[in-house]
C-alpha cells in the first residue's frame, strides 16, 4: 500500500502543476507514456443478452488502457465547475490543510471509499462484471466490491434505510446509459479530496460505454445541507485494459503513511 499512497500523493501534488503549466511539461515516466496515446474506439459497444450495453472488463482511468497515474490527461474535456459550497461549508473546506485532506482520504486512512468514492477517490484499476439486471463493481484499492441491481427497483422504504458507506443504491437504464442513484450514505465517506457531505447526500452516477475501449463516468452531487445547488462533474474517461491485465491484490493492512502524516500534522500545529 505504501507504493500506492506514494503514487497517489505524488499524483495529487503533480496534478495542480499540470493544470498550472499547460505547456506539456514532461514528468518522470512512471509506467505508460507521459504524453498519453489514446486507445482507438475499438469497435462497437458489446451488449448483453437483454440488449443493454455490457460494461464488463478491467478499466483504467484515462485514455491509455494502462495503469499510468502520471499520464492521465486532466487537460482534456470541459473544465469542472467550482463546488457550489454554502458559505459555512466553503469556509470549512478552505480551512483544511493539504495534510488534513490527505488524512481524510480513504486511500490513506484505510476506511471504505464508499459512494461515489469508488470512482472519485480511486486512481487505480476497476473491474466491472455485468449480467442482465446486475452490476458488479470491484476495485483494486483495498480489495472492495459492491453489487447493484439494475432493474430500476425503488429505494428501500425509509424505515429500512441506515447510513452505509455505499448507501442505498438502485440503478436503471436511460437508453444506453446506466444511472446509479444512491442515498443514505454514511457521513464518514467523502466525495473526494476532503469534500465532505451531509446525510442528505444524493449521488447520481452515470456510466456509458460509447465504444469497445471506452467507458465514461459522470456524477451529480445533490446535498442541500452543504451545497447551494447540485453539482455535475464532466464526463470522465476510462479505458479497457490494453494488455488484458487483472486487478492486483491490494490490502490496506498496516498503513505506515498515516503515522508519518500524523507526525507531519503534529509538527505543523502552532506550538
Amino acid at each position: 500500500m505504501k507504493t500506492y499512497i506514494g503514487v497517489l500523493l505524488a499524483a495529487i501534488v503533480m496534478l495542480p502543476m499540470a493544470a498550472a503549466a499547460q505547456d506539456n511539461r514532461t514528468f518522470v515516466e512512471a509506467r505508460g507514456s507521459v504524453k498519453p496515446v489514446p486507445l482507438p474506439p475499438g469497435g462497437p459497444t458489446p451488449r448483453m443478452s437483454d440488449g443493454h450495453p455490457d460494461f464488463s472488463g478491467v478499466w483504467f482511468e484515462g485514455p491509455t488502457g494502462k495503469a499510468n497515474a502520471w499520464s492521465v490527461d486532466r487537460e482534456q474535456g470541459p473544465p469542472e465547475e467550482p463546488i457550489p459550497f454554502q458559505p459555512w461549508a466553503e469556509a470549512k473546506y478552505k480551512a483544511m490543510t493539504r495534510l488534513e485532506i490527505e488524512l481524510s482520504s480513504a486511500s490513506v486512512n484505510c476506511m471504505p471509499v464508499g459512494t461515489p468514492g469508488m470512482f472519485t477517490e480511486n486512481a487505480f484499476a476497476h473491474q466491472i462484471i455485468m449480467k442482465p439486471g446486475q452490476f458488479v463493481h470491484l476495485v483494486e484499492m483495498n480489495n472492495r466490491w459492491h453489487v447493484i441491481h439494475t432493474d430500476g427497483r425503488p429505494h428501500k422504504p425509509k424505515e429500512e434505510q441506515e447510513p452505509l458507506f455505499y448507501g442505498d443504491q438502485t440503478a436503471r437504464w436511460e437508453g444506453d446509459t446506466l444511472v446509479i442513484d444512491s442515498i443514505s450514505i454514511d457521513e464518514r465517506a467523502q466525495i473526494r479530496d476532503g469534500w465532505f457531505h451531509s446525510d442528505q447526500l444524493h449521488a447520481i452516477e452515470r456510466l456509458r460505454r460509447p465504444s469497445m475501449n471506452y467507458l465514461e463516468y459522470q456524477v451529480t452531487i445533490e446535498d442541500s445541507k452543504v451545497l447551494t445547488k447540485p453539482w455535475t462533474s464532466p464526463w470522465q474517461t476510462f479505458t479497457l485494459s490494453a494488455l488484458n491485465e487483472d486487478l492486483a491484490e491490494n490490502f490496506c493492512t498496516n498503513n505506515e503513511n498515516v503515522g508519518q502524516l500524523r507526525k507531519l500534522y503534529d509538527s505543523q500545529k502552532p506550538q
Binding site: 471504505p112 462484471i129 458488479v136 470491484l138 480489495n143 472492495r144 453489487v147 452505509l164 458507506f165
Partner: protein, 277 residues
C-alpha cells in the same frame, strides 16, 4: 462487526459442544431461522452457462436452509466420512496444541484482527454469506465479511512463473474444470493467513479447492491442504454444503473498521498469561 464476531465465537463454541454431545439434541437459543434445520429441496437441475459449464452464480448461505442462521447449521448431520485429524508434524502439533482459545481467536482468525482472510479463509474462516458470479472463463467470489473479493480465471491457465510470484493473501490462483467440478489451485499464499482457527501454514502451502453444484439449490465445497513443511501428508476436508438464498437476499454491507474485540481479547490474553487459565 462486534455482533458478527460474537456470532463467530459462539459458533465455534457451539460446534465444539455439538461434537461433544452428539446424543443430546440440545436445543440452542433461536437466533434466526430454525434450530432444527429444515433442508431445502434440491430445486431442479443446476443452471449452466453458455459454454455448458455449471453456473455457480447466486447468493449462498452455509448450511442447508438457504438462510442466515448461524445457530441452525446442522453440523451433526453426516455429510461424509468423519473428518480426519490435521496431520501436523510433531513440532507443529506441539505449537498448535499450545495455543489457547484466546490466542486462536486473537492471532489465528482474520475476523478478529480485520485482516484479509485470504485463501482458503474466504471459505473456511467465514460463517457468513457468499455471492458467486460465474461467466465462461471467470469465477468471481464476493464475501459479506469485511467486503472482500477474489477473481479466478477458470480457463485452465498455468500458475504465474516462479519469478513473478509473490506472497499474496489470496495467493496465485488458477481454475480448471474437471467435469462439472471447478478446481481452484492456489500457491504462493502469505504466511499471515490461516487455514482456520489457528491452523497456521508455511510458504509451501498449496490449496486445492473444489466447487460443485449438484442441483439448483445446493453448492458444495471441499478443500485439500498440502503443506510439506507443516503436515506429514495432505489433508482433505469433507464436502461442505451451501444453499441458495431462499428469500432472494443480497449480501449486506459489512466493514471491519474499528474492532473493539481485539482489545477485549488482548485483555483476556493478559489474564491467561497471568496464570489464571
Amino acid at each position: 462487526m462486534k455482533m458478527r464476531i460474537s456470532a463467530a465465537f459462539a459458533v465455534v463454541c457451539l460446534v465444539t459442544a455439538a461434537v461433544a454431545a452428539q446424543d443430546q439434541n440440545r436445543e440452542f437459543v433461536e437466533a434466526r431461522g430454525s434450530v432444527k434445520a429444515v433442508p431445502l429441496p434440491p430445486g431442479g437441475a443446476p443452471p449452466r452457462m453458455a459454454d455448458g459449464k455449471v453456473d455457480f452464480s447466486g447468493v449462498w448461505f452455509p448450511g442447508p436452509t438457504g438462510k442466515a442462521n448461524a445457530w441452525s447449521v446442522d453440523r451433526e448431520e453426516p455429510t461424509g466420512p468423519r473428518q480426519e485429524p490435521i496431520p501436523f508434524q510433531p513440532w507443529a502439533q506441539a505449537k498448535f496444541d499450545a495455543m489457547t482459545r484466546t490466542e486462536k481467536e486473537l492471532y489465528g482468525n482474520a475476523n478478529v484482527q480485520c485482516l484479509p482472510p485470504g485463501t482458503p479463509g474466504m471459505m473456511t474462516e467465514n460463517p457468513y454469506v457468499h455471492q458467486f458470479i460465474t461467466k465462461p472463463g471467470l469465477f468471481v467470489h464476493l464475501i459479506e465479511n469485511n467486503n472482500r473479493w477474489r477473481v479466478v480465471h477458470t480457463d485452465g491457465r498455468p500458475h504465474k512463473s516462479k519469478e513473478e510470484q509473490e506472497p499474496l493473501y489470496n495467493g496465485d490462483m488458477v481454475g480448471r474444470w474437471e467435469g462439472d467440478t471447478l478446481i481452484i489451485d492456489t500457491i504462493s499464499i502469505d504466511e499471515r493467513t490461516w487455514i482456520r482457527d489457528g491452523w497456521f501454514h508455511s510458504d509451501a502451502l498449496r490449496v486445492i479447492e473444489r466447487f460443485r453444484r449438484p442441483s439448483m439449490n445446493y453448492l458444495e465445497h471441499q478443500f485439500t491442504i498440502e503443506d510439506p513443511k507443516v503436515l506429514t501428508k495432505p489433508w482433505t476436508s469433507n464436502w461442505n454444503r451451501y444453499t441458495l438464498s431462499v428469500n432472494d437476499e443480497d449480501l449486506t454491507e459489512n466493514f471491519c473498521t474499528n474492532n473493539e474485540q481485539v482489545e477485549q481479547f488482548k485483555k483476556l490474553l493478559e489474564v491467561e498469561k497471568g496464570g489464571n487459565r
